[in-house]
Subunit: 199 residues, 2 copies
DNA sequence: ACAAAAAGTGCACGAGCGTGCGTATTCTAA
DNA sequence: TTAGAATACGCACGCTCGTGCACTTTTTGT
């Protein structure tokens, strides 16, 4: 029972790398089998069906993301330092660590945003969870803490900047992408710090 | 020779609607044929190969986008009013007019951002062209006009907000999505108006 | 060490894919 | 109105897809 989990991990990892480039739906069992060195049915047996594989890939991506971005941030002091750390690590994730084609979850989020099913449900829950995780970190940027509307707005802004960064960096090959993203982020932080009592 | 162009248009339009939901690669000739009421080969003959279809879909989307967002904006006075108009129409486009699954070009931009080929080349050129179109409209928001770096930064910000809006609206079903997007946009405009000489 | 369980293989299936080709139909211009 | 071109169809091809099943090999607990 131990060996199975190991190879399953390798399968999911490899599938995630491929999905980051082509998207989840475009990753075939054959491709994975060749990459991992198994037979097609050997790969298939680890999952009841294709959907299960997709979910497993996304779950593994979330775990890896949290381990690389969120967990290490807990050692950083709350407030601006921690948030900045998270943002920078998040950009790293999108740039390289998420996979050769960026972040599999972002790719899937666009791919499935209008396709009902378990994948979309998972992605919805994932984003909401992450927003609830990020919110408190933003909230405590000021004293007194920011009101919920401003927190939601900032979460939206930050997520948008990360998405914009991905496109600028991956599709447009813009070497300035990181500067643009951090520029937008820094401006947001400053804005929040300066007007804590604004509407 | 006239009839052909008409049906080709119908094919491309229908394929675009499908691509906005599932992505370009997931649209099969069979699906298009059924939707348009042609045979599979009848559809195929209008394009040398699948790639040509993909390009045609994107070109048509660009035309429609420009006709719905950019062209009507030319009647609005330059500066803040026109830019605001463009942004609002852009959100409309992402929300409904681009297709049942949003904007086919955005979907494709994520789908192909790491897949070399003519589709990616087209998308790159498209984004750069749009950025060059948008730039001058931002530049003249202030007097004296904004320096290039601030213009690039604002273009990045705005594009990011639109992407963020798409995700918030489509994947997360957030009824506040539009408020968040316009909120971010308004804040950007105000920021630019207030500090015209900043770094 | 051995039996039970787990993991992986090989093969075949039905379906769907893009594409090519010969033929039929429909449009268009003289 | 009729020849010729444009358009669409039907069919078949080679290939890949996800999935199912019977089988063999490997791992694991006792």
């Amino acid at each position: 029972m131990r060996k199975g989990e190991a190879t399953r991990g390798r399968i999911v990892s490899e599938a995630g790398r491929m999905a980051s480039v082509r998207g989840l739906a475009a990753v075939s069992l054959n491709d994975i089998a060749e990459a991992v060195g198994l037979s097609k049915s050997g790969v298939f047996k680890h999952f009841g069906d294709k959907d299960e594989l997709h979910l497993a890939v996304l779950e593994a991506s979330v775990d890896r993301f949290l381990a690389l971005v969120w967990t290490p941030s807990l050692k950083i002091p709350t407030g601006k330092p921690r948030l900045k750390f998270i943002f920078e690590r998040w950009l790293d994730w999108v740039e390289t660590e998420g996979g050769p084609g960026g972040c599999p979850m972002m790719q899937a989020s666009v791919e499935y945003d209008d396709q009902p099913g378990r994948v979309r449900d998972f992605l919805q829950a994932m984003h909401r969870r992450w927003a609830r995780t990020l919110g408190p970190e933003i909230r405590v940027l000021t004293s007194p803490p920011l009101p919920p509307e401003q927190v939601d707005q900032a979460v939206f802004d930050i997520k948008s900047y990360v998405m914009g960064f991905g496109q600028q960096r991956r599709l447009l090959d813009d070497v300035q992408a990181r500067r643009l993203a951090t520029g937008a982020f820094e401006a947001l932080i400053e804005r929040l710090s300066l007007e804590p009592a604004a509407a």
